[in-house]
Point group: C2
Chain length 423, copies 2
């Protein structure tokens, strides 16, 4: 009961703070973000000590080395976080942009102006860098934010949020622009997801389970995403060397992330040329190949070191690992059908020299990003020239694909009349 | 169990149909909509007979005259529905528009193209016109749709959807582009709201209860809206005649709809001049006035015929009736505070001759439509020059305010490389 009340109070404070941010100029917001960067450097000792306490507890609790690595801060990583804040200060402010303007009969003027969403709820795992990144992006776009980080990172987050709030106060802004839910009580996540009286948007940053939980329990719009079952289709008409390079890059360059390649579809006529070359390229890594019955012999014949027969489950699975499922298809239509039924709608591409095949693929594949002759690894706010990325959305409303500052805004209609009445 | 399975099948069919619509040209979609209009006229007798059956059952069930009126079709109303379909055929097709294009280093081309959402779920009350309106808008924007109308209109909807499907088949499109949930089982609404495997967006068309139910039970993004607690603030600097005209229009022109005025806030210095004039204007209607303790004497002195003291509940209430609550405020800040805590974020306006007050109000009021010197009754897709309106959104994601065809689309990113890999 007390905790629910606290969250109500936090929500109300956040909403009031959002009203203050509406009146805050771009220069003012940038000054706060610059101060955040300075204070992160000045408070380095406090931050690293708190982080050390988190790490000790996390090791005692038996967290995996991968999780410990994400939790860990050091001098270099803290400097990178401060620089990222400075980058956000340099980005263009989307707030206040007028999207369109029209004059209506009777001299009425109608405009749409870009405005902050209001209050964001961000739920994430044990990554202290997200605390600062998200807070700076929220602030830059004029939004108040309520943060709920993983409990393993609580000591770090407490100190980081103190730094963020110190910067707000130094510039006469309410510290409740950035608030942290400190209690480890998991029920509070459910409460936050239903705080629709105050919170306008929920952004989960984490695995499939977290996204699912948010979608099922929120009464507030949720930006879901981050799950990528990614496909490349190698068409009959190819630059073979180029195709091998792209497939290799999409699978190997960073296999643990959502835009890494999971499934390769190959036109049957190109398989005899492409697959031996691909085997040669992927064997030294080595990537584990899970091949369907038609593709298997090509890899077997090449003496491929990590080869398995694909099962039904190997298609439509996000591996997040050096594993690639391979299937041979009859034609473009079969590839399109496979993608329609197995893709998560994140990033899918075609490799082809035929313009009409490219156009059909770009038109008919219903994914956030559709590629022609390029690696799926490009799906990223920075690569797209959008600046810092808040999330990669695989749902279709509001923002799709890499979601940057603009995705943290909405618009309102401004209607100026001359003492005008509707007939 | 069977019903849940049926809904799964409908969802799958809808998703497959949406893939077909992706390949369908604007001309092809328009031809279907034209055929819908023709068939509505040709099948007038069948449609009106089915509607008659609905009306008889609804009368026997004791529905209110207002509900019977919304349910009722006649020759003139059916012709209006057919003409509205023809209007939709004439609207510009948002699908395929390229929103922006940028060249990235290395000759990479990045575009955003507007595409259909996919599958819409529309839940509405006993209004058979909505069946055709929504189906035509969905079709025009390339979306498949699953309709769930009020059970009182089932006979009418069955015949209407047969007509819609006949038009689809006549143009070689799958009839599952437009499907109707026929069973009156209310549990199916809950099932539809969780059919996230197939349905991309839920649009409720009805009262506050339906919107709330959808928000609380959906795992799919919901466009909520339609609830308008609307305010006008009469500032100290006014054209008094103009202000009275605007207030009268906002309250009286159509009091039963969401953009009608609910609360008037009046700067204390203008009350002695404005309120007697307003009393004279609203008394003949008559509008019931619920005045706060400061405003009450002005109406009392004018011998106002339907005058009551406002209670706490009269502020923040959507009346949908000839009732107006009136409060006197000290200044613009008090008006802004009142609106921030009582508005539903639909339509709120200021009446003023002072430019800086207008600019503060337009900037700081966080509603879908913010007015200057105009009636709140303008919040409407047609009035805004957007064409037919699907909904009026009071949530902030995706679409805000009057939501037309463009609101039924999303975008995808198209990334064209030259066998490009991420470094």
């Amino acid at each position: 009961m007390t905790q629910a009340l606290d969250l109500q109070v936090m929500g109300k404070l956040a909403k009031d703070s959002a009203r203050e941010l509406l009146k805050t100029s771009t220069e003012h917001k940038n000054a706060v973000i610059q101060t955040i960067a300075s204070l992160l450097r000045r408070h380095e000792t406090d931050i690293l000590l708190a982080n050390q306490a988190d790490l000790v507890a996390a090791q005692a609790a038996g967290l995996s080395e991968a999780m410990l690595d994400r939790l860990r801060l050091d001098s270099g990583r803290l400097e990178a976080i401060a620089r990222e804040a400075e980058n956000v200060a340099r980005l263009a402010d989307p707030v206040g942009q007028e999207i369109d303007e029209r004059m209506l009969p009777g001299g009425l003027r109608l405009r749409r102006r870009r405005v902050p969403i209001g209050v964001l709820g961000v739920i994430y795992e044990a990554r202290p860098n997200v605390t600062v990144d998200v807070a700076c992006l929220a602030l830059k776009s004029g939004n108040a934010v309520i943060l709920r980080g993983g409990k393993e990172t609580l000591q770090s987050n407490r100190v980081l949020v103190q730094v963020l709030q110190e910067a707000l106060l130094a510039h006469q802004l309410p510290e409740a622009c950035i608030q942290l839910i400190e209690s480890p009580d998991r029920a509070l996540v459910g409460e936050l997801l239903r705080l629709d009286q105050y919170v306008d948007m929920i952004i989960p940053r984490g695995g499939a389970g977290l996204h699912q939980f948010c979608r099922e329990n929120a009464t507030i719009p949720v930006i879901t995403g981050g799950i990528g079952v990614c496909h490349l289709y190698a068409d009959a008409f190819l630059d073979l060397d180029g195709a091998v390079d792209v497939i290799h890059n999409a699978k190997v360059q960073r296999p643990t992330v959502c835009n890494a390649l999971d499934t390769l579809l190959v036109h049957h006529s190109v398989a005899p040329d492409l697959l031996p070359m691909l085997a040669e390229s992927l064997a030294p890594v080595p990537v584990e190949i899970r091949a369907d019955v038609q593709a298997y012999p090509y890899f077997e014949q090449a003496g491929y070191p990590r080869l398995n027969k694909a099962t039904h489950e190997d298609f439509g699975t996000e591996f997040l690992d050096l594993i690639l499922s391979v299937r041979i298809v009859e034609d473009l239509d079969e590839a399109l059908d496979h993608i329609a039924s197995h893709s998560s709608g994140h990033s899918d591409g075609i490799l082809t020299l035929k313009g009409d095949h490219a156009e059909r693929f770009l038109n008919e594949v219903d994914s956030a990003v559709v590629y022609l002759n390029a690696s799926t690894r490009f799906t990223d706010g920075a690569q797209f020239g959008l600046g810092a990325e808040v999330a990669v959305s695989t749902q279709k409303l509001h923002a799709r694909g890499p979601m940057a500052l603009e995705g943290l805004t909405t618009y309102k209609w401004l209607f100026e009349g001359k003492w005008s009445v509707r007939p």
